[in-house]
Subunit: 335 residues, 2 copies
DNA sequence: GATGAAAATGACAGCGCTGTCAATTACACC
DNA sequence: GGTGTAATTGACAGCGCTGTCATTTTCATC
């Protein structure tokens, strides 16, 4: 019923090995032969048997995405990118949520990883900064690519985005729109992105020859709730900001919500900028101006790097992918 | 380095086949032998080679989750459930997003499915109602389990929840809290859940001896935006409802938002109920009373059914899993 | 046309496991 | 102890493919 390499070989009048060469894009096959084999394979609707392939070549044609991240949206996008990269190369993606509490560490973790029959692993934050995990992976000699790690490990290629630059652009955009009293809501203090985003904000303010008003920089922790507290503080100030840049969309949403409660119109009297471009950004009214992280692209790149690792001499320590400032309805010119 | 079945067999002084029996929990192995083999396997840190296993048994120990669904949250939960079910049985889950536009149908789709080296497929809405897809799967003899299908296919076991009952409970809860003027916002007319949820609402109202006020039943399409329109209509009525039940959380969030804008306090003057228990429900202030679908559980059950199909005589046409009414802060007693 | 090197092809073993079926052992019973 | 049945164990082939290495073909060059 289901055709094998042998069937194709017979039909095309060549050896199994030649068929194998064609299917794996190996060199040293005459064009004529290649075309014939390809034609027969198509005709017979041949599909390679992954298990057999894997057994013979001691590869699995499987990549794993490891995560321990509460944001389904982030994961879904990484996932989509990785899968699309896999598709063209005959790879598949298996998903492994990892709960990194104490009980799951040490030997249990190592065992679990050993059991994972994959050719490479994509690590999302915060796993990509977990020293234990990285150690085990290195020991097990499983190739991995960290996505947006806080510190880039040596000898390993990672993919990331430029948080500082993205934050810089959002701030610059607000300033270009005539805003001078800028508020900023910081992210979770233990998250490295928080620092970077704040840094970009500061850089942009200073680059414009303005001064950072430290009273208008308040702490947050990425949660909607912390955004509410921060917004109340910012908006009840004597000289309230004309624009607030929150370190993520949830907190930006909180700003919009508080403003609406206080009767401050957005964007009329207050511009609000977020970060992440989560679905929330478009659900909200007005829709949020925000930064779209290249999440899909990072997933895609990470998988590609695992499937076809660059040669040692071409290896970059990291690939930085482009974000995008998405201007929607929550920001406008200062009046 | 990595140990094989042969190593274990030698060390334990039995044949490979016996080791294989033990590892696969086959019957007819003496307890003594079983224990010894297990001990040796553990000592040697033996992990079965999936590819070899698959090749020999023509199984892949892989399940696929197919989706074409915009809600990352839904997918993430199904996924988590399925993976947890896989874990204990040595299975892994591969994820396959499917874009069901015209170009990807027909032969391309069939080819793609043929290439998927899996033992079974979990279908999420709306894929589980796609006749083309179901046809191909049947033809290819790939077992599948639809999650929450609109119409239950014959000869196939599906998993689902009881939308009518869930909706009934939410409504009943509101009525029990003294609410008599109830508003309802419908979901997308082409989504079967919309009908069911409305049905549950009507049943509960009538069961309480009240009458459905058709002026307080307005159309929506599950989007926040449609919720805004619906809420404005409901809340500007002469006799506005004291409680509004929206067919999903996004629309419930819209109700809360509109109420806040109109200066109507929630839950003081207006109770709001949602459906789905999305992250939004907890992000919001006040947090939403809503229905938690057994999404994780459905994923878990679907995978379990694929891994260990019930015998023909024990087969149920469908497994209905329990939802939960989650009472938070957006509802209270009518004053 | 002879020569040699490179390109193209093929024969064959074996990856690690399980299915089949045969062989051995255990055990109840007379 | 002998017999029969069931429980337990093992020998062996082979799943479909690729790696290795040997062989054949091609073709530029003299």
């Amino acid at each position: 019923m289901k055709s094998t390499i042998t069937d194709v070989a017979k039909q095309a009048g060549v050896s199994m090995k030649t068929v194998s060469r064609v299917l794996n894009n190996e060199p040293n096959v005459a064009k004529k032969t290649r075309d014939r084999v390809l034609a027969v394979a198509k005709e017979l609707r041949y599909t390679p048997n992954l298990a057999a392939r894997g057994l013979a070549s001691s590869k699995s044609y499987l990549l794993a995405l490891l995560y321990d991240n509460p944001s389904p949206n982030y994961i879904a996008n990484i996932q989509k990118g990785a899968i699309d990269a896999c598709r063209d190369s005959g790879y598949h993606l298996v998903i492994e949520p990892l709960n990194m509490n104490a009980a799951n560490r040490g030997d249990a973790l190592e065992l679990r990883l050993e059991r994972l029959p994959v050719d490479g692993i994509i690590l999302t934050p915060p796993l990509c900064d977990d020293v234990d995990l990285l150690d085990i992976l290195t020991r097990l000699k499983i190739p991995y690519v960290p996505v947006a790690p806080s510190r880039e490990p040596e000898d390993v290629t990672s993919v990331k985005m430029d948080d500082v630059q993205a934050s810089f652009e959002m701030t610059e955009y607000m300033i270009r729109n005539g805003h001078k009293r800028l508020g900023f809501i910081k992210g979770h203090p233990e998250h490295s992105a928080s620092t970077l985003r704040y840094l970009g904000f500061v850089k942009a303010v200073e680059a414009a020859g303005l001064e950072v008003d430290l009273d208008a920089v308040v702490d947050g922790d990425f949660s909607f709730k912390s955004g509410v507290v921060a917004a109340e503080r910012l908006l009840s100030a004597e000289q309230r900001p004309t624009a607030i840049f929150a370190s993520n969309d949830d907190m930006a949403a909180a700003v919009v919500s508080v403003a609406s409660r206080l009767g401050i119109s957005v964007p009329g009297e207050l511009s609000v900028g977020g970060f992440d471009d989560t679905p929330l950004a478009q659900i909200l009214y007005p829709q949020l101006t925000t930064i779209k992280q290249p999440i899909y692209e990072m997933g895609h790149m990470a998988a590609s790097l695992l499937i076809k690792p660059p040669k040692a001499e071409e290896r970059l320590p990291s690939y930085c992918l482009d974000h995008k400032l998405i201007i929607r309805d929550s920001t406008q010119k200062s009046e």
